[in-house]
Symmetry: C2
Subunit: 338 residues, 2 copies
């Protein structure tokens, strides 16, 4: 399976490096960092049309969200110039509904399977990319009832195979709602923490006293603000209500503090998640690392569930993943869930 | 200079270990973890009265906030039984106004200099303590116009000497306001992130997709909720208004997202702090490590300012530290600021 990567920023660059390290033929293109990527040993095409001439089996759109429409249009044009080429199109965008709309608008909807690796740093650009950033990453892979099962399988094999990740097969809405909670709102709150200090009369003293709770709580607030803004804005439909809930909770806690009323409801509410993720450890949230498990070994392990790749298996994966299962590996006949 | 430590939890235990490692004579007491601490090689007294019999020069109250009143009363009683003993009393509490009130109520106000090491982990108890936790830590040291300069000096020598920390000399209010922003509100927001996921219908999917932004943003949310609640409640006067500001900001951002209005005001607002702390690095917030600098070397270095220990030098330190300076070392004659 060969892969084309359009866009070589932090995530696209890391993906291209990881695939190449895993022995997958990769051709990539990026008007800005193509030269830098070529110097780093990647195979670079001048533009999307030249990338298309390599006829990769999968094309990954790894451009910024705001460029998805134009990149999808470029790819559609290149496809028209390559009769017989039948690529599956996927992406790495942090929201899925709007990307599916953009891809569908370009006439690529039937080829499309959405994908989102839950990985990143506060840095940007190819210079910050690394194959390691893609190691053991939980991916969301999004589908509709109309998604071609063969194309889904192709993306799932890539994610759980050479990329060594896990895959949650989800609807766009389920992805976008969940990611609002575990990624977009955390980005907003990190910006809020930094912004509140920036505007405070006691700023200089506060920064001198800042320690671990501030450092960790604000880490992703050092992401390029335009990138964060785009991510949050594209997912406004799910982020805005989550922010209103947060605002209401914080107001309620402030009311309780002001009136010396009980506050345990606020501090105990996270208990189910604390228990689930483990308390006091250092690696509470990690992707599974199924790379070392071949199909047989995994299937024999405890707590692994098999979904045969027959009948309406994509719908069955959707149902199970909506309950919290993730795909950890594929055998020739079945999807292995945990 | 000998030190008594009352309370051997995470911070008290780490402090006792760090002092002992630096060659300072330490005697400590804790009804719960005294045995464990003795096994770890610390000198343990059965209770505060026995600790007092050792007549340490400085007594550090490292009990939980809710126990400060009773521990201060015990110490006052023990003092009455040790004529001629003249200890300076300090503490490690995360709020300073309420601790000063408790200590003053016990009749120890004239001996008291407030202190707060900006260090911790999400774990609790002596088992989680370590000398390393106290390395290069920024401390807040709080005073009033009535604070005895000799007692202040004693605490500053301890912090910048054997403990290898930096000290910001502040009023209680300035400390409590600044720490609300860089510690207490971050703790609340970490609990908010965990709590929002705990209550969400998409919880299971969200936790499967959780990656770095959620892990870092929630790290301190794994602190014992009772400890966090106590810290936030004791500093309610500063935390509640900060939470109301945050709630208002989040509502405004939600309004902007819903109406497709500009959002750059929110994402750009942290710029001054991002620039100050450095963007994209991994060690943006760190304490200074002045331990390796002797007085002369530090004084000769650039950007170091000297405050002679004459006249009303505590007031001068207060003024400079309110502007963001910190004490990095003491020579026999002066305080060195950066």
């Amino acid at each position: 399976m060969s892969v084309g990567v359009v866009g070589l920023g932090l995530v696209g660059g890391s993906l291209a490096r990881a695939l190449q390290a895993a022995g997958v033929p990769v051709v990539a293109t990026d008007p800005a960092s193509g030269g830098q990527a070529r110097a780093a040993g990647l195979t670079i095409a001048d533009d999307v049309a030249h990338l298309a001439a390599n006829r990769p089996d999968v094309v990954v759109l790894a451009a910024p969200l705001r460029a998805m429409r134009s990149v999808a249009a470029e790819l559609a044009e290149a496809l028209a110039d390559e009769p017989g080429w039948d690529p599956t199109v996927t992406d790495v965008g942090s929201v899925k509904g709007p990307v599916r709309d953009a891809v569908t608008e370009a006439g690529l909807g039937e080829r499309y399977v959405g994908a989102h690796p839950m990985s990143g740093t506060e840095q940007s650009g190819f210079a910050a990319s690394s194959a390691e950033l893609m190691q053991g990453v939980p991916w969301a892979v999004t589908v509709t009832p109309a998604t071609d099962p063969d194309r889904l399988l192709r993306v799932l094999r890539l994610v759980t195979g050479p990329l060594g990740g896990t895959a949650a097969v989800l609807t766009d809405d389920l992805h976008d709602e969940a990611v609002a909670l575990v990624s977009h709102v955390p980005h907003v709150l990190a910006n809020q923490l930094l912004g509140a200090v920036a505007g405070a009369p006691v700023r200089d003293v506060a920064l001198r006293l800042a320690a671990g709770s501030f450092r960790d709580g604000t880490r992703v607030g050092f992401t390029d603000p335009r990138r964060t803004e785009a991510m949050v804005t594209e997912n406004a439909a799910w982020v805005a209500p989550a922010l209103r809930l947060a605002a209401r909770d914080l107001e309620r806690l402030a009311d309780a503090l002001d009136s010396n009323a009980p506050t345990h409801w606020f501090f105990d509410r996270p208990d189910p998640v604390r228990e689930r993720l483990g308390r006091g450890g250092t690696a509470r949230v990690t992707g599974l690392h199924p790379g070392d498990a071949d199909g047989a070994g995994v299937a024999a392990a405890r707590d692994v569930e098999e979904v045969p790749l027959t009948g309406d298996w994509p719908a069955e994966l959707l149902t199970r993943c909506a309950q919290g299962a993730v795909l950890i590996a594929l055998t020739p006949e079945s999807a292995l869930l945990r």
